[in-house]
Structures are given as C-alpha cells and as structure tokens.
Amino acid sequence: MTTPAIDLAHLSLKDALDLAILVEDEAKERYEEFAHQMETHRTPEAAQFFRYMIENESKHGRELLARRVERYADTPSTVTRDMLWDVEAPVYDAVRAFMTPRKAMEAAFAAEVKAYEFFDGALASIKDPEVKALFVELRGEELEHQTLVKAEIAKLPPDNPLSDEDFVDPPSAVD
C-alpha cells in the first residue's frame, strides 16, 4: 500500500498527535528541499524565506512532540509518513528558479490553506472528542499562520513588473 488511508473515525489522540507531528515533519523537509533548491539556483531571498519557514515548522513540531511525550512517553507510533501527501508541505510545483520573495510567501500561504482544509475536512469523520479538539486547535494554528504570512507579504514592496527572467541567462545545456 503506497498511501494507507487514515482511519479518522477510529483515530486515537496518540495517533492524532503523531500525525500532526508528521505533518510538520513533512512540511519542514519540504522547506529544506526548497531552500536548497533556491540556493543552488541562485535565488537567495526566496531561500531565506524558506529557511525561516523551516524554523517555524520545526518549532511547531517540537511543541507537538513535547505534548506527545508528556502524555504517551515513547510508546511506538502506529501512523506513518506514507499516510500523508503534501498536507502542509507546499507542492513541488510551487517553486521556480528566480522566484520573488512574494511568490515564495504565496507558496507558503497556499500550503497553510491546504493544511487548514485538511484538518477542517477531517472534523466531520472524527469520533473521539479529544482528537476533535486537537484538530480544531491545529486548524486554528493554520489560520494564524496564514495571517502571519499575509502580513509578511503586505510588507513587501510590489513585485518588479520586469521579472528576473528578463535579466538572467537563458537556461544552459548540461549534458
């Protein structure tokens, strides 16, 4: 099974916490990949923003982990990464070489929207009240993140109507 389904109806709190941690992990990894890609493709400002997002996701992940450990110590987890596909991680298609910081933030914003929809959409199927409460909380977090990112975007100067693409070298053949 490449993408085992998440049994929302019978999701325990432990599972839910673990899932939430994995969601953050996935997002963090994705931002790490993106930061590296931006650096390799000489797009430092976007890279900088993605590094900032890594820190965000890590922080949130650490908080959730602390809660999990407090309640369940290190009992083995039963949920796995392959149950998730780009929940809070921005899709690979979201980035481009020479992308502006605005576009990078918009990508993060879209990812937060996706994550919101994931938790929101799951609520109807969840039976356990504690899990429900957790998902409501996580959904709320995503909304907060969206607000934060929107604020960052607002601080930006308008994008130059001339894109970097107009100035950079055309793509080169490497093989």
Binding site: T2, T3, T80, R81, R96
Partner: protein, 293 residues
C-alpha cells in the same frame, strides 16, 4: 517482503543524500517521491535493487535513490537493464528515462523488451520536450510545436507512447501524473509488482521549456481517472481506444494489465538451465566437446 529478511522500509530509506539538480518546480521531484513510496510498500532492501537510466534530466533519477544506480548512455537503459536481470534474476530491476531517451533513440529497444517480457518496470517521465539539451523537440512534442529546433513549428505528428506500448503487446501499460500523487505512487507500485515487463508513462511537466498548457494547472484541468469512466483494464482494445486521446486528454490509471500474465523470460531461462545442466560436462572438461570421435 524481501528474501533477505523481514525489515520494514520507509520512503526515506530509498532516498539518497544526493540533491537533485532539477529546476525548481520540475515534475520529476514528485515522481521520485512516488518511486520511494512504491519501493517502501514493496519492501525490497535498497541493495537488492538495480535502477538503470539513460541520459536526460529524468535519467538522473537513479542517483537520487539508495539503490544500485546506473546512469548509462542515451537510449540504452533497457538493454543494460535486461543484462542485469538476466545475470541476477533475483534483483528488483527498474528502468527510467524521458520521452526522448525512450521513444527516440531508445525506440528500437521497446518492442523487444515487450516480447521478451522480463520482470522489469520501465518508467518514462514524459514532458514532450528535450530538457537537458535546452528545449529541442521530442518525439512526443505536438505537431506545430515551436522549439529551439522548430522555430516555425514542428512538421511531425507525435509518437503516442501509450498506443505504441499497447500495440507492441505489453502486459502492463499505465499513465500517471503528480496531479494525483497517491494514484501515481499506487500505479508505480502496481507496475513493479506486475510479474513481467511493465510500462508507466508519467506526465511530468518541464517548467523551463514546457508551455503553459503543459504545466500542472493545465494538466489538472484535462485529467480524467480511468476509474471514473468505468474502464476495463483487462481489455486491450478498450485500452487502445482510450489511448488514442493521448495529447488531448490526460487519462490516468492502468490502461491494460494482463489478467493472466504468462511466464516471464526469467522463468523460461531458469527452466532451461535446470533441464540443460542435468547431464552437462563439468566446466573443466568442456574441451571434451571437441574430441575427435
């Protein structure tokens, strides 16, 4: 489960430390994730996997896995993969490449892969252009396409990879796209599990040379899961009928899968080796074959 034990593997166990040099946004990033997941689901240890490719952006893919990779020469992944499989039939052998690598220079090898039917899965990342060499026409570029080698538009009809493979008689033909990630991973897994030669065409957009109409957003608009049209994957002719819409519709899923897969080439070789070794001369006495009687 692997023959070597009962280890469970996760997707990250198949991911190497080498960071891809693909352009940000390349569809191949998602494809390689799908491959990691499929391999994890199958659970063969990475060192029992041989992953061969040709030349091109997508052919870099073996280096991004922890399998034994072989990034060979343009268009020749399939012959090399066959040699590996024949030498050690117990290995899990995968081949991958782009549409040019597979259907242009490599095109001559396809029907022979099909008719030999070795247990090898072949993944083509189809983006209708030659990326690595800077945007020339590929065999799947649509007619009229402008490119660095067709300023006034291409004069040729494109190859239809799905129709070709179905017509050659392949036992497993499917198409996938990162527009449906779980679906894509599941298809890759099914292809690897299929006992025989399996072909998966993955629409993987090129963000640098692809046109607007070939990017993820546009693909999402023309995507149509085969499940949703009640397609019968045991019916080759029905599959060929759907395959005719390659280029205008993005049909996703298993086009055809032989419900009764015949013995693979490897099965037949094994049989023969067993039969022929019964009364064989020991190797040190092979020159006895030449004794004048």
């Amino acid at each position: 489960m692997s023959p070597t034990g009962t280890l469970e593997f996760q997707a990250k166990d198949y991911k190497s430390d080498l960071k891809p040099i693909w352009c940000p946004g390349c569809g191949d990033f998602a494809v390689v994730q799908g491959i990691y997941r499929a391999l994890a689901a199958i659970g063969r240890p990475p060192h029992e996997i041989a992953f061969v490719s040709g030349i091109g952006c997508s052919s870099r893919i073996p280096g991004y896995t922890t399998a034994y990779g072989f990034n060979s020469v343009h268009g020749r992944a399939l012959p090399i993969a066959q040699g590996i499989k024949m030498a050690n039939p117990d290995l899990l052998v995968l081949a991958a490449g782009g549409d040019g690598d597979g259907f242009s220079i490599g095109g001559g090898h396809l029907p022979h892969m099909v008719r030999r039917n070795m247990d090898i899965a072949y993944i083509v990342m189809d983006n209708q252009i030659y990326g690595l060499t800077k945007g020339q026409l590929s065999p799947t570029s649509y007619k009229g396409r402008t490119s660095s080698t067709s300023r006034y538009g291409s004069l040729e009809e494109p190859v239809n990879p799905l129709l070709y493979m179905l017509a050659y008689g392949a036992g497993f033909v499917a198409q996938a796209c990162p527009t449906d990630l779980p679906g894509m991973a599941a298809i890759i897994e099914a292809a690897i599990r299929y006992p025989g030669f399996a072909f998966v065409n993955i629409q993987s957009p090129c963000v640098t040379y692809g046109e607007e109409g070939q990017q993820m957003k546009a693909l999402k608009a023309i995507a149509e899961p085969l499940d949703s049209i009640g397609h019968n994957s045991a019916d080759r002719l029905a599959a060929m009928d759907v395959a005719q819409h390659y280029g205008t519709k993005l049909s996703l899923g298993i086009f055809y899968q032989n419900p009764e897969p015949p013995p693979t080439y490897g099965d037949l070789v094994k049989e023969r080796q067993e039969a022929r070794s019964k009364d064989a001369l020991p190797r040190e006495r092979i020159l006895d074959l030449f004794i004048k009687k």
